[in-house]
């Protein structure tokens, strides 16, 4: 069963009608609906394509947050073998909002780390909707350190609204944990590549996405603040979120122009949520590609290039 977004309503109607016709035909009411249903299918396909070709930044936010999009766990299960989760920050707890562990990518050992939002009520609560607490970042720091010592590349999958605004998270030094995680990203001497698979929300995303190569899925977003948050501060009214989404330039397309993201990974027509397998496969190809680019580089060179990349950032403006 397809979950439709608000802007997909007209599409839902057509697809619904086609399904209805087919159901009628199956019940054998003697009418030949084949042609009609096919025409509706064609119309729906055309509409889907044109809808997704011209998504507004706000619509992209909705797609990036779509509950049916493949999550970190789906990518890990499909693209990696021998995934061996490693838990805990060795200080306080294990944060389930952050998955991480050793795995093989095309037989090559890698460290994979990512935000996991969960896919039903129970797992969403367990995983705190993908909003990491300090322990999540500290676990990531520990795993990156380990990867660095053993010369294993690090792959991070970013999908979070942001850090968790909770009392305990603040008391246990959330800001420090994020700062240290970003610092660790800049210190390690192994390839670090990052893919924004859904939402890249502010500091919680930076802590993982400070990488040699940053790829973004076609309809993913990466932003300093959520459009809702930005609207409530600058417009003093959260309902201006659509305007804020426009102004923030948070789409993958704009981020490549600004030099923040390095590449865009194409999604299937209608977004990753309509064909998870294809989306995951494209991500796999991109990872292989980026790993190939980075593997020959020596630790000192990797560090130097990574730091230089961030020092240079900001010399590209968007055309008005």
């Amino acid at each position: 069963m397809q979950n439709y977004l608000e802007f997909e309503k007209p599409l839902a109607e057509i697809e619904g009608k086609a399904a209805e016709l087919r159901a009628m035909a199956r019940q054998g009411e003697g009418v030949d609906v084949g042609n009609e249903a096919e025409a509706l299918d064609k119309k729906a396909a055309a509409m889907l394509e044109s809808l997704y070709k011209n998504l507004t930044p706000w619509q992209k936010c909705l797609v990036a947050r779509h509950q049916d999009r493949p999550h970190c766990i789906d990518y890990i299960n499909t693209l990696f073998t021998e995934y061996t989760p490693l838990a805990g920050d060795r200080n306080f707890a294990d944060d389930l909002a952050v998955m991480g562990g050793l795995a093989r990518f095309n037989d090559q050992p890698v460290m994979v780390i990512g935000h996991e939002k969960g896919n039903d009520t129970k797992s969403r609560i367990e995983r705190n909707f993908g909003m990491a607490r300090p322990e999540g970042y500290r676990k990531a720091i520990r795993l990156m350190d380990m990867a660095d010592r053993f010369g294993i590349p690090v792959i991070t999958l970013v999908d979070t609204q942001g850090a968790y605004p909770g009392k305990g998270a603040e008391e246990r030094g959330q800001a420090e944990a994020i700062a240290r995680s970003t610092e660790k990203c800049l210190q390690i001497g192994v390839p670090l590549l990052s893919i924004v698979i859904g939402e890249g929300g502010s500091g919680g995303a930076v802590a993982f996405a400070t990488a040699d190569r940053l790829a973004m899925l076609e309809h993913s977003i990466y932003s300093v603040i959520s459009p809702e948050g930005c609207a409530s501060i600058l417009w003093k009214d959260g309902s201006f979120a659509q305007d804020a989404a426009e102004a923030l330039r948070l789409t993958a397309q704009d981020l490549v122009k600004l030099g923040v993201a390095d590449r865009i990974i194409q999604e299937p027509v209608g977004g990753a949520q309509r064909n998870a397998k294809q989306a995951i496969n494209s991500v796999g190809l991109a990872i292989a590609d980026m790993l190939k680019e980075l593997t020959p580089l020596k630790p000192a060179e990797l560090r130097k290039q990574r730091r230089q990349k961030y020092l240079n950032m900001g010399d590209k403006a968007l055309v008005a």
């Binding site: 968790y164 009392k167 030094g173 959330q174 970003t182 400070t210 600004l258 950032m313 968007l318």
Partner: protein, 315 residues
């Protein structure tokens, strides 16, 4: 008519205007409500002598009080692209910038300077909360990088005074990218084996806290400063309960192991001198005009009069 309007009126006006007093002689403390005379307030570096409330201070005022004899040289900061996103909310970003510049008489939200602090050359970066909430955009990132490069060149400690609402939304993702950028700057200082000291002042929040403000060798905060990643209002809305008194304030963070020290603004200079001199392996700082102590042992005859005195005292 001419004579009256050209000569008499101005004379009368000037008589009265001379008696007018400037309206900023007295400031009311926001905390205890005491009226504070401007000279007293300036002397106490904008802290209330009555209740120790720390009010806003600009980086320029702070540096004047901080460096030896108030002497410092500004470090040039490379100018970033103006308004790379063509950002517009209810106002255009360039208009907001113009207003902020007019209001503060400063170019941007961070001032970088070098000078002597207790006889030790240091580089200082001070964030200006009065300039668009001190927000961290590309200029602030450039300023931190310039400060770090200067510190490495001079082999000098870097001291950073943070004060910001967070990242500058009007620069979108590029403001967020100042988190890794400023972290690279901190790494430069650390790789060079130089001290990096952060003084957290009210308020230090958001992406600023979650990057360069939390990466210091030493974290000192001014009393009762709000220091956090997510602000108290956001947290209250999320968890739907009242937060404890003093939550996310300096003393609370000290209790939770996030800060090294909480220090009154008027004691900050001495404390920074003590720390930087120790970390750079210099002898203790000598106040006043006394010559620096020598490590040579006093000679025998110098001791003699002392011994005599002691002997005579015993008699």
């Amino acid at each position: 008519m001419n004579w009256i309007s050209n000569v008499v009126r101005p004379k009368i006006n000037s008589l009265f205007s001379r008696r007018e007093t400037p309206d900023n002689l007295w400031t009311k403390c926001e905390e205890c409500g005491n009226m504070l005379f401007h000279r007293e307030l300036t002397e106490a570096l904008n802290t209330c002598p009555n209740c120790d409330h720390h009010m806003h201070i600009t980086p320029r005022e702070r540096f004047t009080a901080l460096f030896d004899n108030g002497v410092f040289v500004e470090v040039d900061v490379p100018e970033p692209l103006a308004d790379p996103l063509h950002f517009k909310d209810q106002k255009r970003y360039p208009d907001r910038m113009r207003e902020a510049r007019k209001k503060t008489n400063e170019k941007e939200a961070m001032l970088v300077a070098e000078g002597d602090l207790g006889g030790v050359k240091v580089v200082c970066a001070g964030q200006d909360f009065s300039f668009m909430g001190g927000s961290m955009g590309m200029y602030v990132g450039n300023a931190i990088i310039a400060a770090a490069e200067r510190a490495v060149k001079l082999k000098a400690p870097l001291i950073l005074f943070s004060a910001a609402g967070g990242a500058r939304m009007q620069e979108g993702i590029l403001s967020l990218m100042q988190m890794p950028r400023s972290t690279v700057a901190v790494e430069m200082v650390k790789d060079a084996g130089l001290p990096y000291i952060v003084v957290l002042t009210h308020p230090t929040t958001g992406g600023v806290t979650a990057s360069y403000a939390m990466l210091g060798d030493i974290h000192i905060a001014e009393p009762n400063a709000l220091i956090c990643f997510a602000g108290p209002r956001v947290i209250e809305q999320t968890i739907r309960e009242k937060l404890p008194e003093g939550f996310q304030r300096s003393e609370y963070l000290l209790d939770h192991g996030i800060l090294d020290r909480v220090t009154h603004r008027t004691a900050m200079r001495e404390e920074l001198i003590t720390i930087t001199r120790m970390l750079t392996k210099k002898p203790p700082h000598v106040k006043g005009d006394l010559p620096a102590p020598t490590l040579e042992k006093p000679k025998a005859e110098d001791k003699a009069p002392e011994a005599d005195k002691a002997a005579s005292a015993e008699k």
